[in-house]
Symmetry: C2
Subunit: 340 residues, 2 copies
Amino acid sequence: MTRIGSRTTGRPTLAEVARLSGVSPITASRALRGISTVAPALVEKVITAAASLGYVANPAARALASARSHSVVVLIPSLSNQLFIDTLEAIHEVLRPRGMEVLIGNYHYDAAEEEDLIRNYMAYQPCGMLLTGFDRSDAARQMLQASGVPCVHMMELGDSEKAISVGFSQIEAGRAAARHLLESGRKRLAFVAAQLDPRVMQRAEGFRQVLAEAGKSAPELELLAPQLSSIGLGGELFSDLLAKAPDVDGIFFCNDDLAHGALLQALRQGVDVPGRVAMVGFNDLPASAHMVPPLTSIRTPRAAVGRGAAQALLALLDGKQVAVSRQDLGFELVVRESSC
Amino acid sequence: MTRIGSRTTGRPTLAEVARLSGVSPITASRALRGISTVAPALVEKVITAAASLGYVANPAARALASARSHSVVVLIPSLSNQLFIDTLEAIHEVLRPRGMEVLIGNYHYDAAEEEDLIRNYMAYQPCGMLLTGFDRSDAARQMLQASGVPCVHMMELGDSEKAISVGFSQIEAGRAAARHLLESGRKRLAFVAAQLDPRVMQRAEGFRQVLAEAGKSAPELELLAPQLSSIGLGGELFSDLLAKAPDVDGIFFCNDDLAHGALLQALRQGVDVPGRVAMVGFNDLPASAHMVPPLTSIRTPRAAVGRGAAQALLALLDGKQVAVSRQDLGFELVVRESSC
DNA sequence: GGGTAATAAGGTAGCGCTGTCCCAGGACAC
DNA sequence: GTGTCCTGGGACAGCGCTACCTTATTACCC
C-alpha cells in the first residue's frame, strides 16, 4: 500500500538497529559510520543487526542532522558527447561504492545555466563538486567559494596551486596534432572546429603555436563554427574548406565527430585520404579505429579523468591534503592510416 | 570558510522568510508550495520575501518531514548507448523545471545490479521511478510493489492495465524491418544482434514472424552475440555472416552501432551495399544519415519516450488518473540508400 | 594509592521542514 | 440570535539522524 500522508517511512530506523544490538542510537550510528571510538565487538553486533533488519540509513535525516549530504554534484557541459559519458561512468564507479550519490547537472555549454544549476544544487548541501574546466561566471565562482564545498576541476589543468585539477594539457594536445602533421610532410595545415568551448580554443592555440614556430601559420585555414558539433557539420565544413582552399593537405579537427563526418564526406566526394589530405581527430572515440581509412586521433584519458577527479575529491573529504593539486594524465596520439 | 562541524547550513530558512513576511512558518511553507488555502496577498508577500533572501528550501528537511523526497529515480541499462542519453535528457527537461531531482542508476544490463540499485535508492524515498522495460528480478519487482512508489515503464509496452508504459512495439519494429527488406525484393534475410536484452529479442521475434509468414524463415541466418554491441563487433559479425552464408542479400541489425560497423566493413571488403546486400539498422542515430551509403534505419522516439514517461509520472503524482496506461509512440522506418 | 589523562559509551538537543490537529471568524440558514 | 458549516491561518510536535557535551571506566604515572 502507498502510505500517502503517513509521516513515517515504514523502513527500519537507527533506533531499531540500536535496540536490537543492545546499544544506544549514537553508538549504532558511530559503528555504522566506521568511527573508531567504538569497540570492535559492538561494531560487529551493530552491523549484524543492521544487516538482519535490512537497514539503510535515511539520507535526508543524515543530511539534515549533519548539514552535509553524501551527494556529489557533477557539472558537465553536454551529455550528447560520448566524452563526458565515459567520465561520468568512471565517477560513478568510484563514488557509489563509497556510499556517495552522484547528481548530474548538464549546462549545455551555457554559463548562465551552469550558474543556475550551482545555485539549485547548493540546496542539497553536496559534500563535493566536480566541475568541467575553469571557465565560469563570476557569480558561479563566488557561490562556490562562499559555500566552502570542495571542488575538483576536470579536463583542464589549472595554474593556481589552490584549485585542484585532473586532466591534461589541451594546448599540448593541439601542439601534438600540428607536430604530427608537419612531421608527416604536410605543409598547408587547417584547423576545423565547432562548439568553441575554452578547451577547443586551447587546442587551437597549441596548434597555432607549432605552425608559427615552423613558419607555416595559416589563419585563413581556420574554420571555427560556433554551433554544436556533429557528423553532418564535419562533412559540410570539410567540403567548404576544400572548395575555399584546394591546396590544404592536412586537417586537425577539434573532435572526432567532425573528423568522422569529414572522412565520410571525402569518401562520397572521392577525395583521397590521406593521399590528398591527411586528417587528425581528437578524443579517439571507438568508431575512429573502424573508419575508412582508420582515423588518426588523440586519445584522451576520459575515464581516467573521472576516476582521478572522484578519488581526489574523496581524499579531500578524508581531510588528506591532495598530494598533487594538478594531476596531468596526458594524452596519446594514435597514428592510423588517415595521416600517413 | 568551510563550516565543517557546524550544524547549521548558513542558508536562509523558512523561519526567516516567515518572519520577514510577517506570517507563521507553516503559512510560508504553504504559500511557497502553492497550497490553495493561503490568501493571494499573503502568498505574494511570502514569495517576495523568499526571493529577496534567496531562499531555497532544504530538500533534506523537506524529505524528512514529509517522508517523501522530490527525487525521481531513473534506471537505465546502459549509459554508453546514445539511445538512453537522449531519453535522459528529455526526462531532465521535463522534471527539473518542476523542482524534481533526477537520480540516474545505470545497471549495465545486469539484473542483480538493478536490484541493488533499487534497494539503495529506496532509501531516498523517491516520489517516483522511471524504469526501462519490464524485465527484472522477482525481488526487484517485489521491492517496487511494496514501496508503493509510482512507476512508469519506458521503451516497451506492457500488457497489463496496471503497469504504466510509454514506448513503442518492439515486435512491430522487427516486423517493419523484415517487411521492408522483403518488399524491396530481398530473399535471404539475416538478423544480426548483440547485447541480447529483452527488447532486442522482441525485435528478433517480429522479424521472424514476418519471414515465417512469407515462407522465408532462415534460422541459420541469425547471429546472436551476447557481448556488448559496438562498431567493431558489427564489422566482425558482418564478415562472419558473409563468409558463412554468401547468398545473404538483406540484413537487419538490432542497432545502428552494429550496422555502422558492417557498412564500414563492407566498404573495406568492397562488398556492394545495397547491390549485393541490403542493410537496415535500428534507432537512427545521427551518424546513420551520413554513412556511405546512408543507412536505412528505424527511428525510435527516444526523446519522446523520456518526455512522455516524465509527464505520465507527474500526472500520477498530481493524483490524476493517467488517461492511457499504455502510450504507444510508434517508430518510423527511414528508408535510405543502404536498402534500395 | 591518589591524581590525571585518555577512552568508550550515552544523554540531550536540535537540524529545517511539514502533517495533524485546532481555533478564530465570517457566511449562511433557520 | 443561535447553530452549523467552511475557510484561512497558527501551534505543536516530530520525521531520523548526528554534533556536542557529559559521564562512567580504565590506564598509567609518580
